[in-house]
């Protein structure tokens, strides 16, 4: 009874309290946030609160530009970014520099999987996802993200994020046509939600001719993604990217050649002719200095498989396991060259040559000739890896830890194939052993034959601490990164590579970072971030290590006496990146201003090694990069919206570079101290203005790039230029009933004013000449005005 009374009393009090509580609680009503937040018309800026410099291109921008565009082009308007494309479509690739860091000094990922070349860290943007399937591309201009899986990024990182499959089923088709016989067909099928599963697959076929010279490119591409929702915040997903392209390269030109041969100069349009083979007569063919366009090819095939298990283990604990596998196969550059048979200008017995010397190439029955062939630097990569991340949230702390591991096998060979007088190639993909050149003992000829196992690892931990009601955020982090190179050279016909050797080397570094942000108001944030990055040297450092003299002694075609030593001793380059910035988010516009300073140690550059008396990629000591980046974007007002960005960059080497020693023992220096680093414009500015109303969209974007140096000593440069692009679209009415939907016709015009400009040939961050006396810089000419039209419709 007493219990009843007490319980009754307690219930009455609880009810009263509940009523009082209900009285002081109100529901505001649902707020909905979409993935792109409150969309800005231009799609070139998003709300950002990362405590370091970061810029993002969203789908709103990607879907109005030409669908064949590659990620380098997509990033072009962002602050800090200096990107060029070999042609208007983006199908031939291009170059990218951010704050003076070349793309091979930055880390690239697709949905978190690293895609830089595992040997050289090169990036080939035309191989990656179709633009229709990308939801955003971001660039962190300075420090690499702590959890990003890179060992070759002394600069920042670039991430491609693909769109998820749709919840509703849909078939999207698009067809494009334009100048230079441009054609592109695209189809994507989304299954929509089938229970807890959804997926999509897309296929595209693209082709276009070069704007100078003969030839063009053909590209077939598949993207696919599948997701299975495990509920409770967990899901499983898998992705596939497949790309196969056959591309005629553009010829790089010296500045003198641009003047003498013209803006549209390219490779020769007719193939070199063979000398009629005659048994017993030495025929010596010479490869013309300007190669035939058909022998300057880039056939390449690659695929990327990604898997993800994103598991919410408890309210506070999340585990992400993300395995991936990259495969790449192909060649590039200019393949036209000559190869000599065993006894061309050579009386050495066959047994005293590698594999008995090169067998008969031209079929005349003797071994006396030198013959024009197609020889390509073939690369085949098998690259499995996994990222594992565990996050734990405890009060105001979010702790993220994890590891990355990958084991890349990289086969780099240089087989050769016979060519005909009509320009035919026995095997342009260089994979058919039956038709490739052989040595006299039947072994396949190789101008290069090396195998590198690159084992990359990192472990990292990061704590994001929210203080003062999230107004102040501090993120200390540290990662330990290591790459182990296991390089095996198999005797081949390359320079100083005629015997076997194996070289192993580790590069590792602990990389701490500290990032802080302060939310002064809901509109204003300031941030400061400092972090250390590192980049291991490429595996090409270990090529050609046979000492010569004395060279190699062969017995019965096998190397029996030789010595070797790695000439390049470059260690990893490291950089300390400091970003200080502020972001403003107003009702009409949002923007940011970031000042940056990079202190570079052991920057890798081509320089003279006095110890060995030769020029190599070596560490050239200190250099600094400092500058300012600004970006600002508006919301649409009466359909008008705009975006502007500006960049000032000063990138200098601290000291003069040693380039040689005189006969009297005096050091000779190139005057590189305080000179601007090549292909790093001091000033860049970009603007995008858009009007979108109802079914209409018109967008004009312009980019100014100031003068760029093309040698370390700044004794040659290429002029400033400004280009404009036009994107216009009109959405037609939907078809009757449930027929076709969202039909859009789009016009894309690149280089509206047909501006002629030059682009630096900067294949690598380190491969610029010191001065014009030591090497002649080369450039590419910019693509002229190019227009294309696309029609897209959904079913």
């Amino acid at each position: 009874m007493r219990t009843f009374k007490l319980n009754t009393l307690a219930l009455a009090m609880f009810t009263m309290l509940g009523a009082a509580h209900a009285q002081q609680t109100s529901e505001i009503g649902k707020i909905t946030v979409t993935g792109e937040g409150d969309k800005l018309g231009t799609g070139l800026i998003i709300d950002e609160d990362t405590p370091k410099a970061k810029s993002t291109v969203t789908k709103a921008q990607l879907e109005k530009t030409r669908s064949s565009s590659n990620p380098f082009q997509a990033l072009a308007l962002l602050p800090g970014v200096n990107s060029t494309s070999q042609d208007a479509t983006g199908l031939f690739g291009g170059s990218l520099r951010v704050r003076g860091f070349n793309s091979d000094q930055m880390g690239f990922t697709i949905d978190g999987a690293p895609v830089n070349d595992s040997g050289s860290f090169s990036v080939f943007p035309q191989e990656y996802s179709d633009a229709e399937n990308l939801c955003e591309i971001f660039v962190t201009q300075g420090a690499t993200d702590t959890e990003a899986p890179h060992v070759g990024a002394s600069g920042g990182n670039v991430g491609l994020v693909t769109c998820d499959p749709l919840d509703t089923s849909r078939v999207r088709t698009a067809v494009s046509g334009g100048q230079l016989d441009y054609f592109r067909g695209f189809v994507r099928v989304d299954t929509g939600k089938i229970g807890d599963f959804k997926g999509f697959i897309s296929f595209s076929k693209s082709e276009v001719d070069k704007f100078r010279g003969s030839g063009g490119t053909k590209r077939d591409h598949v993207d696919a993604k599948a997701e299975y929702d495990l509920k409770g915040g967990s899901k499983l997903s898998a992705g596939l990217l497949y790309n196969r392209a056959l591309t005629n390269n553009f010829r790089s030109l010296t500045l003198a050649q641009v003047n003498s041969e013209g803006y549209y100069a390219d490779f020769a349009t007719s193939p070199p002719q063979h000398i009629t083979p005659v048994n017993g007569t030495a025929q010596s063919e010479t490869s013309p200095s300007n190669a035939y366009y058909g022998y300057a090819l880039n056939p390449f095939e690659n695929y990327l498989l990604t898997g993800k298990a994103n598991l919410q283990l408890s309210e506070r604990v999340r585990l992400d396991i993300e395995p991936y596998f990259w495969y790449g196969y192909g060649t590039g550059g200019t393949q036209q060259t000559t190869v000599s048979e065993a006894n061309f200008n050579n009386a050495t017995p066959l047994g005293s040559q590698l594999h008995g010397g090169v067998a008969d190439i031209n079929g005349d029955g003797d071994l006396l000739d030198r013959v024009i062939v197609y020889r390509g630097s073939l690369t085949e990569t098998y690259r499995p890896g996994v990222n594992v991340k565990l996050s734990y949230t405890l009060d105001n702390n979010k702790i993220l830890g994890g590891f990355w591991y990958e084991r890349a096998r990289h086969f780099q060979t240089q087989p050769a194939s016979r060519v005909s007088n009509s320009g035919g190639i026995s095997d342009r993909w260089l994979g058919n052993e039956d038709v490739l050149l052989k040595y006299n003992d039947g072994t396949e000829y190789q101008g290069r034959n090396q195998h590198t196992v690159s084992t990359g690892e990192s472990v990292f931990i990061q704590d994001t601490i929210d203080l003062f009601n999230s107004k102040f955020q501090i993120t200390p982090s540290a990662s330990y990164r290591k790459i182990h190179r296991d390089f095996t050279n198999t005797a081949n016909s390359g320079t100083n590579a005629g015997a076997d050797y194996n070289y192993q080397r580790d590069y590792d570094e602990v990389l701490p970072s500290l990032n802080m942000s302060f939310q002064a108001s809901d509109r204003l944030q300031t941030f400061i971030g400092i972090g250390k990055n590192f980049k291991a040297p490429g595996n090409f450092e270990y090529q050609g290590a046979i000492d010569n003299p004395p060279g190699v002694t062969y017995t019965n075609g096998a190397p029996t006496a030789y010595t070797w030593s790695i000439k390049n001793k470059a260690t990893q380059e490291t950089s300390i990146n400091l970003d200080v910035g502020t972001r403003y988010k107003g009702d009409l516009f949002k923007g940011s201003v970031t000042a940056f300073y990079v202190d570079f140690k052991n920057r890798i550059a081509s320089a003279f090694d006095p110890a060995q008396g030769i020029r190599l990629d070596i560490n050239v000591g200190k250099s600094t990069i400092k500058g300012l980046e600004v970006e600002l974007g508006t919301v649409p007002v009466y359909g008008f919206s705009g975006y502007v960005s500006g960049t000032y960059t000063r990138s200098t080497i601290k000291d003069d570079l040693l380039v040689g020693v005189t006969s009297t023992g005096q050091n000779v220096y190139a005057l590189t101290a305080d000179k601007q680093f090549p292909d790093t414009p001091k000033g860049m500015a970009a603007a995008s203005i858009q009007w979108a109303q109802g079914p209409y969209l018109v967008n004009v974007a312009g980019k100014f790039t100031s003068r760029r140096q093309v040698t370390l000593a700044n004794d040659a440069s290429i002029s400033a230029f400004t280009t404009f692009d036009l994107n216009a679209a009109y959405q037609l009415p939907n078809g009757p009933g449930n027929g076709w939907k969202n039909p859009i016709i789009r016009l894309n015009v690149s280089n509206l004013t047909n501006k002629q400009y030059l682009m630096a040939n900067s294949g690598s961050g380190s491969q610029f000449g010191i001065n014009t006396a030591l090497s002649t810089p080369s450039v590419y000419t910019g693509a002229p005005r190019f227009a294309s039209v696309t029609f897209q419709v959904d079913y």
């Binding site: 002081q24 609680t25 993002t56 998820d164 107004k471």
Partner: protein
Amino acid sequence: MAAPTPPPPAPAPPAPSRNVDEGYLGELRGYLNGIKRYPNSREARQLKPQGTVKVWIELDRAGQVLGAGIHTGSGSLILDNEALRTVRNGRYPAFPADSFTGQSFHRFVVPIEYLVEGG
């Protein structure tokens, strides 16, 4: 014995006050719509979580934040943290004099739904 006279019906709350309350709620909704955003960490952009977080926020009459918390989580800590960050960081207007009368503070509950657009 005559049946007892039924008590007079409770007087309706004064209409102006409820309207003022509604007006303030609308103001808060508009404000939160202005500062909302999808989380933009690298993790969020790769995982792209979706869901609804019900958050509460307690304001005093001057609009100062007294406290905030999760009423119902979304299943994603990324979204929960973002929703909490959103309401905590707000600068809210003071209550109108004739709203929430007799209350020195008031608790507001808001469901924030995060959606990701597919491709």
